[in-house]
Amino acid sequence: MNDFIHHLPAYVDLYEEGDLGGLNLQNLGRYLTEKTGVPFRSQGNIYKKCSEERLEAVAKELAKIKVKDPGKEFALGVPLQAEIDYERRRVENPGWKVFGILYEGILYQKIVSGLIFESGPILDRCSILFTNQLFGTWDWDNMRYHARVSLYGFPSIISVVGLVEAPAKPKEFYIRKRMGTPIELLREEYQGRFLEHGDSRIAEVLKGYAMQAFLFHLTGDPFCEDRNCRLFNSHWQEEVLHSQMESPYEFCPRHEAFLKELKDRSSFSSLSYSTREVGRGR
């Protein structure tokens, strides 16, 4: 755990993209403020302030960063007009429901960063984008792209559909699916063991990911090694559900203490580029 605070933000700014399946960002923001003492601002749809020209430019950029073959390293594409038109319709429509394209995560983050920060990241705001689109990053260990739930940075991006698609389901689920067991039957059998689109548990689970984004902004280290802590970096659906909903405590004792001290501090001051150490080291 790194508890050296680099940037204590004055605000947590929450942005959204596409249809988030009824996710209430106000509730999520209130949770963050309750845990950290830092006020939140709901900034709405990320494209809402864009001019027509900007939207067209963004649509072109998005159409270029589709990962078309997850087994190959990414190369910038030359999109066809219909691909740009698709992105244009998507960014123009705040309630866009369709997803399924895997975007190159780092480049996706760069595009949305350009929308949020006009001239470089503003570090006294912790900016988090919740999107209904999928993004992935290249994994050098097995040389392929993997869908991700979150990518922390400036801004941090969290994919609501990635929460369903990225963490692995139980191994036997995939084996049986490959053997031809109908997906509907598998869903029934494994009900509750993984998140599904529209799952009522998603709102609760996202709180942990939002906290990870906040911790990243603060310290550069969003994760905790304790699988019972909400900051645990889960790879399996069962780990996600355990760390976010079923564990005996919300945060491990160390992070609990860290957050308590942070909250006490945040209630009377906000520091940008703080070099003071808070929390207790290992």
Partner: protein, 265 residues
Amino acid sequence: MSKKKPIFTPVSEKEVTRAIVAGFAKQFIEYVESDCLIIGGGPSGLMAGRDIALKGVKTLIVERNNYIGGGFWIGGYLMNKVTVREPGQKILEELGIPYEKAVKGLYVADGPHACSKLIAAACDAGVKFANMTIFDDVVLREGNQVCGAVVNWTPVNALPREITCVDPIALESKFVVDSTGHDACVVKKLEERGILKTSGFGAMWVEQSEDLVVEHTGEAHPGLVVTGMAVATTYGLPRMGPTFGAMLLSGRRGAQVILEKMKKK
């Protein structure tokens, strides 16, 4: 004893032959130039053709097989039940195709019934067919606008060139539709010429690919509209499974795009 009257009117063989040739030639001459030329007579091509022809637009479907309908006769694993996800069942209702609910949001219909009704709907709307006819190349005009297709008899392609060297012929049209499935034959031909570049389809992901296919249906190149599974190949979308809702809705979307463009012209 009175002679028994035959059931059918006596007609000589030569009259039968003349009727076939004259009927074929009349239609062929008329449809050498059409408003909409659809390559591929599968579900998306049939649906597009039906919706376009219903508006009185002169529409020809080119199909390389003898039979029309593509994969719509059978579902997955050669089983003759076809499935559609909601809202695809609305088109089944519109075409008078009986269906049953399988699970929430998924409907199943009898393949032969569904396919024959769709073909009949296209015919009733006024679509004409050139079956056993294979797409060979595109006809291009100024600015590489697609305005027709070069075709040949399917059997010609199946024989060695030493035996049959038959030149193809060209059909002209205001719009060409690529409904050739994952092969995306028309789009690939443009790719061969360096005019556009396709991506090839990704892994199978039924749930998301259907939405994406419909949303990407449209004009891929001036004069060329892409529908159905060819959309997945053109834009590198996930591969579709054996559900046909997107084929029908993509065909409908393709028809809307063409009709709107025709209005503007």
